[in-house]
Amino acid sequence: MALATLDRLEAEAIHIIREVAAECAAPVMLYSIGKDSSVMLHLAQKAFAPAQPPFPLLHVDTTWKFRDMYALRDRAVAASGMQLIVHRNPEAVARGINPFDHGPLHTDMWKTEGLKQALGAGGFDAAFGGARRDEEKSRAKERILSVRSAAHGWDPRRQRPELWNCYNARLSPGESLRVFPLSNWTELDVWTYIQRENIAVVPLYFAAPRPTVVRDGVILMVDDDRFRLADGEQVETRTVRFRTLGCYPLSGALESDATTLDAIIAEMRASRSSERQGRAIDHDSAGSMERKKREGYF
């Protein structure tokens, strides 16, 4: 009998994590607190049970995540017993970079530059990330082990051929790897796996009454008093949930009554929109994700 989809995907992801842990000198797992990160952390624990995964977790913090996310991060890390490194780009801290005043610079400074600083400071040669190929067109073309130059750039024309499940993790000085164990998962796979394995996720994925503002057609949640209201804007309570989570002023909510995993999965099956529709940073311009990746974005 053929293995079920989730079993095959789980086995593949565990295989990838173990290969990189065996062949790289200093791997690290990016932990961004979203559902994909939660699944990836769970897989890492399964890969090395009953031992600890032989690498630390890294959170490249923008200081603008939802409060619920920080709370889950601390709970999940404590439960895992793994080491967590939190990095905040000191220059972005000093300059007070924020999503209200600084547009794309916010993502560039906190996430792209912050990640490069953190990888350099830790001497890490491989970083696991929870990105999936179904998220975005340039992701669909990226290898599972993606070689980045000393400047962390991605060159889509110079990718290594990647055959079978035989991965080449060898690097030249200065190069590093981005590793995507969830490459072949879809959003629905992630949710059905969370349900099957009973994995804790941020409560924001479930519908609840929340303080919101509608701006440019996007429902934003007012998560703390740093949110700046424009003239005429009113904070209203709406029953919403999030399909993806990032910095709270950049994450669009959707109106929903889905308060359980069953309801989330049913809603997603019926949905007529893609996962990243609510993510403001993906819509800067055509090819923007590819450009960000060339510059070192995850």
Binding site: L3, E12, R18, A140, R157, L163, C166, N168, S273
Partner: protein, 608 residues
């Protein structure tokens, strides 16, 4: 529980591959509204179908692809029906992207080959069918596209299918289901075509839903070991993805290549013990005995072990712009085994268009050939036809770390198991003991004129004075005798160093301290010799002299000749010198005299 089918789509440029898959996803309701909106706006900006929706733009996501209207790399797409989940590797049609197609085919269970009804069987159709077959795909769908442009005519379809079937028979291709489709109109894609009432077979979507694919679960157990897990003294496990067969507690197994026999105590997935596990699952195992089992070992069924050998024949797909260098050492990775390997000159290469076997001295980018491969120690493998994981390998360039080739093993060479080392009564240890010294190979490397021979000569004199048994192999002298058949091309230089390495090792076996003074410009070959030696025996000494300084000395007048164009392939001028990364000793000749350098080397040796 749904199962997962991985397939590849291939076909010639402009045969409507992206259009067909875009149509399939659309008609199965798998495209979101915002994706369709983006597609419509892209179609207006970049499309080739006027105001109409251009499904091709769904997939080509890279900027260069959009600009040039071509597919550069494999794109992976995901969709599902009520019965199955699918992963599609959408592969480029251009010949120069053969390696990307091979990448996509390596993980596929089935191939959809597109054939343009207005053009029939093309060279590309044959190439792609051949490559899919080579990579071990056994199930095919022949989608005859653009039937709308061929008047939906049955005789056109039948003619193309007959042509393809005749070709498929020569390849020994597996099961082929032919379907007449139109991507633009959606005919026989996800819904039956009213325009082709003569066709009674399945639609593309139906065939994908119902085709049965051989799983890899059959056959004997094959489990390449990824690593060991030892959280504390109470638990000792090994990890791996089962590549073939199945496994349960109580099973008798062997651990290769050491051939240790034991019994499986526990099979776990995560922390949970399971009754059995099968091919495709990532497991953790514990054994009944305290056995040695580490990364690179393969756990196999006790009664049905695969080959353990250091020589085999394989088909190679060359994937790098630097051609294959027969004799050069490459890293070979097969499953979780990593070894050093050399490739013999190819027996032939295959013209992927005609499938003819042609004479070849090397393999260039995107060429496919058959050659013997030698590894520096025995590895565990099966023929590729029996198991993709234990029969497929990659070659990695030792300098650039690029993946330069994919290989598929045919069989072990018989001499690999019949040629044994002659057991000698006087061992190398005995030879060394009677001389009262530790045998070494002092490998001097550096530019011409760096001072290698001068310093090596002084070192030998000093060692001789200390009562050591030594011998100095000099580059010029060797080229007058043992290696007089070799020139100065890259391939000949590699062979030159290989022979010297073998001779030096034989002398070290005899108990001698061997000194060699050769430019030995390539890191890969020096590493090859290091790999021949016992740990600590190979001492790499970089005589580090700047090019300008060596050229100024020019003791043999060779730089002057090279600069005048009278001497080709001269190291440092028109041929590269790759300095050692981490030599045991680096001698900076601008900071010390030859005498001081020789003393430093002798001190290093005498310390142990």
């Amino acid at each position: 529980m749904t199962d997962l089918l991985r397939f590849i789509t291939c076909g010639s440029v402009d045969d409507g591959k992206s259009t067909l898959i875009g149509r399939l996803l659309h008609d199965l309701g798998q495209l979101a509204d915002d994706q369709l909106d983006a597609l419509d706006s892209d179609s207006r900006a970049h499309g080739t179908r006027g105001a109409e929706r251009d499904f091709a733009l769904l997939f080509d996501g890279l900027t260069a692809e959009r600009e040039q209207g071509i597919t550069i790399d494999v794109a992976y797409r995901f969709f599902s029906s009520d019965k199955r989940a699918f992963i599609v590797a959408d592969c480029p049609g251009h010949e120069q992207y053969t390696r990307n197609m091979v990448t996509g085919a390596s993980t596929a269970d089935l191939a959809v080959i597109l054939l343009d009804a207005t053009r029939g069987v093309l060279t590309q159709t044959r190439r792609h069918a051949f490559l899919c077959h080579l990579l071990g795909i056994r199930r095919f769908i022949l989608a005859v596209t653009k039937m709308d442009l061929a008047g939906f005519a049955q005789d056109e379809f039948d003619r193309h299918v007959a042509d393809f079937t005749a070709f498929a028979a020569t390849l020994g291709l597996g099961e082929v289901t032919a379907i007449p489709v139109s991507g633009v109109g959606g005919d026989n894609v996800a819904r039956r075509s009213a325009a082709m009432p003569w066709y009674a077979g399945p639609t593309l979507a139906e065939q994908l839903d119902t085709v049965t694919v051989d799983s890899a679960t059959g056959g004997p157990l094959l489990l390449p070991v990824q690593g060991a897990i030892r959280p504390d003294r109470s638990f000792r496990g090994v990890t791996g993805l089962i590549a073939g067969g199945s496994l349960a507690p109580g099973d008798a197994v062997r651990i290769l290549p050491g051939d240790v026999r034991t019994t499986v105590a526990q099979v776990l997935i995560g922390a949970a013990p399971v009754d059995a596990a099968t091919a495709g699952q990532s497991v953790i195992l514990t054994f009944a005995d305290e056995v040695d089992c580490t990364r690179g070992d393969v756990i196999v069924a006790a009664n049905d072990p695969p080959a353990v050998a250091d020589q085999f024949e394989a088909t190679l797909v060359w994937m790098d712009s630097d051609a294959l260098l027969p004799g050069r050492g490459y890293w070979l990775k097969l499953g979780t085994q990593s070894v050093s390997a050399t490739v013999q000159p190819p027996k032939y290469r295959i013209d992927v268009n005609s499938l003819d076997q042609l004479a070849a001295r090397t393999l260039e980018l995107n060429e496919i050939g058959v050659a013997e491969v030698y590894t520096d120690r025995p590895i565990v493998f099966t023929p590729y036809a029996d198991n993709r994981t234990l029969g497929g390998f990659i070659l990695i360039d030792k300098l650039t770390n690029a993946t330069v080739a994919a290989g598929m093993i045919h069989f072990a060479l018989r001499r690999s198991s019949n040629l044994h080392w002659q057991a000698l009564d006087i061992s190398r240890e005995a030879h060394a003991r009677i001389k009262g010294q530790r045998p070494r190979i002092l490998w001097f490397t550096g530019l011409s004129g760096a001072g290698k021979s001068t310093i090596a000569n002084l070192v030998e004199k000093k060692l001789h004075a200390l009562g050591r048994h030594t011998f100095l192999l000099d580059g010029d002298n060797i080229r007058h005798g043992l290696n007089r058949d070799l020139g100065f091309t890259e391939a000949d230089r590699i062979e030159n160093i290989r022979r010297i390495g073998e001779v030096a090792r034989l002398m070290a076996d005899a108990g001698l301290i061997v000194l060699t003074a050769f430019i030995s410009p390539f890191r890969a070959e020096r590493e090859l010799v290091r790999g021949l030696c016992a740990p600590g025996e190979f001492v790499e000494i970089h005589i580090d002299t700047p090019l300008a300084e060596a050229e100024a000395r020019d003791p043999k007048g060779l730089y002057a000749k090279a600069r005048a164009g009278e001497l080709a392939n001269f190291t440092g001028i028109d041929s590269p010198y790759e300095a050692p990364d981490a030599p045991e000793l680096r001698i900076d000749t601008s900071a010390m005299s030859a005498e001081q350098a020789a003393q430093a080397i002798v001190d290093f040796i005498e310390r142990g």
